[in-house]
Subunit: 359 residues, 2 copies
Amino acid sequence: MARVSIKDVAQRAGVSTATVSHVINQTRFVRDQTRQRVVEAIEELNYQPSAIARGLATNATQTIGLIISDITNPFFTAVARGVEDELNRHGYHTIFCNTDEDPNREDEYLRLLFAHQIDGLLIAPTGVQSDRLTRMAEADIPIVLLDRTTPGLDAPLVQVDNEAGGYYATKYLLELGHRRIGVLRGLETISTQVVRVEGYKRALREAGIPVDDQLIVRADPQYHVNQVPPRALHSNRPPVKLTNLQMTPSAFEVLNQLLDLPERPTAIFVTNNQMTLGALHALKERGLKCPQDISLISFDDHDWASLFSPPLTVISQPTYHLGKTAAGMLMRLIKGEPAPAPTTLPVELVIRESCRKIS
Amino acid sequence: MARVSIKDVAQRAGVSTATVSHVINQTRFVRDQTRQRVVEAIEELNYQPSAIARGLATNATQTIGLIISDITNPFFTAVARGVEDELNRHGYHTIFCNTDEDPNREDEYLRLLFAHQIDGLLIAPTGVQSDRLTRMAEADIPIVLLDRTTPGLDAPLVQVDNEAGGYYATKYLLELGHRRIGVLRGLETISTQVVRVEGYKRALREAGIPVDDQLIVRADPQYHVNQVPPRALHSNRPPVKLTNLQMTPSAFEVLNQLLDLPERPTAIFVTNNQMTLGALHALKERGLKCPQDISLISFDDHDWASLFSPPLTVISQPTYHLGKTAAGMLMRLIKGEPAPAPTTLPVELVIRESCRKIS
DNA sequence: CTGTTAGCGCATTCAA
DNA sequence: TTGAATGCGCTAACAG
């Protein structure tokens, strides 16, 4: 069955294609009677305008690209849903791309998205400077940075108050009496990761406690590498690709390193939810009880956190709204409004049971 | 900066656009020297072919649509990742759509995807018969059903052995000595839900235990409705839209109903991961310990299940592979290979600690 | 071995 | 109040 085109409709309604186009887009007046005929023809033929032909003609595709690291990470899942809901509200839709924090994949996707003439881009960049991204910005493609900044690109940013998050988490632990607080953090290229650690340091500084660099360890957020072996066919996770980045040890390994310190920390601040899983597994394996033996606070909440053993105390971030806000900002950019100021959404300490008071 | 087109390249290289097109697509022989000139021109101008123009000309967009119920559901998250990985491998990309099990949203998305000339469709249908879907199939758009069937559409299906899953779960509970086994199940329109219950019934039948319909309760899988109030700005979940479907009580409510039965079940089989959360919250609120007071087995595993309190015994399904397999099948369909037979992937019982032996 | 040209399905300018 | 004609960027006959 060949696709029915605007010509078929025009013919059937006995008008020109121009008129059909105009009744569809309401872009100039059409006599009621004529319009009626066109509308009927459209329905009878079940006509659906071709969005790509329209795109060619108008240079606008109603499509935006969403580049994130991994949809499988609950943080990005919620963000993506927020994005999709907001864009859909405006009649736009989303092409989604997982980089796994790999700059090469990022580059490849940027190429693809550009080829497909996206009207705008939402990106949580890997943090490695990208010529292609710069070029897209120069080509006046509206871009909104999602959650993270990246060197060499000055675009509106929607983020969460990561510094405050690190600060709140640390301060809470300090109030509980902890003095040796370990940090399990992720890749250095990711801006949120460094900022969260800055919040941690500020809290220590205010409390007059020197920062001990031994207590800050860095892991690859793909926590499961080498630790939770994919159960072949039954794995729910994508196979792990060993890029350069992934030479960094996993959260599981690195936490063990922290626990082997002569003077072991009494509490740990984990800077994202994926590493929290690795950390929890490491504790479990060593037979360490949380919070009896060690306290743990994590960045980013999710639906399951309260069902964990123990229920997790976390810094919660408005993930869904982060996506929604960024998408809204992009829509405004696309509609030609001036570039909005960067937006920072608040975070919140959610106290459950994974941290305890010490004397 | 205006987009550079094939004309610009042709001009710069001193050849015709046809030649440029042919070196790009390697679709006819071009003298080395000429090709070289074209390649250089492309690089100098940083030319990127327009995929939508090409789409118009060739009637193929390298784009496929993915319709699922909610990317926020970990099951679909993993499926989506599998789909994306596989499609990307073939140079295709994905437009993703969340229906929230709402047939109207499904219809709207189908319209959108058709307008955008997708080359193929991957859909976990809501289960309500859809004219538009039928029409798309008639228009020879390749379609692969993901995880579920739908009335009035005969398309290749990639699914999981849901019947066996229900059977294994029930059989395991029977082996532990349970005789009154409750079922917390989801919407009737969703084919997997009914099949899982059939597996349950078969196991009972084999054990000579009559099916007690009182023990089978139905909930809306959007478990959180009325139960876990969205924490305003800090919610990680999309706002709940009250469609007709959602007049069904939540898992939380329905489980309570089950627990109020004169002769309370000693074990519960929950037929998907979302309802499991509702169920766990309900148990927690009533102060019932699992598995001491009641055993629970759930359909679908995820990374967190082993960290729950208690670690969840589940029927695990190969979610990532489900998506990957379906996408692979769609690719074959698009490439013109004959419609493959329906594929059923195996499920697996993963025993952890949420079920106990009773006398 | 390469160029010319006619569409693909639509929006839009210019006429009428 | 409406139509005819042109072009968006590309591919694919057809021609040479």
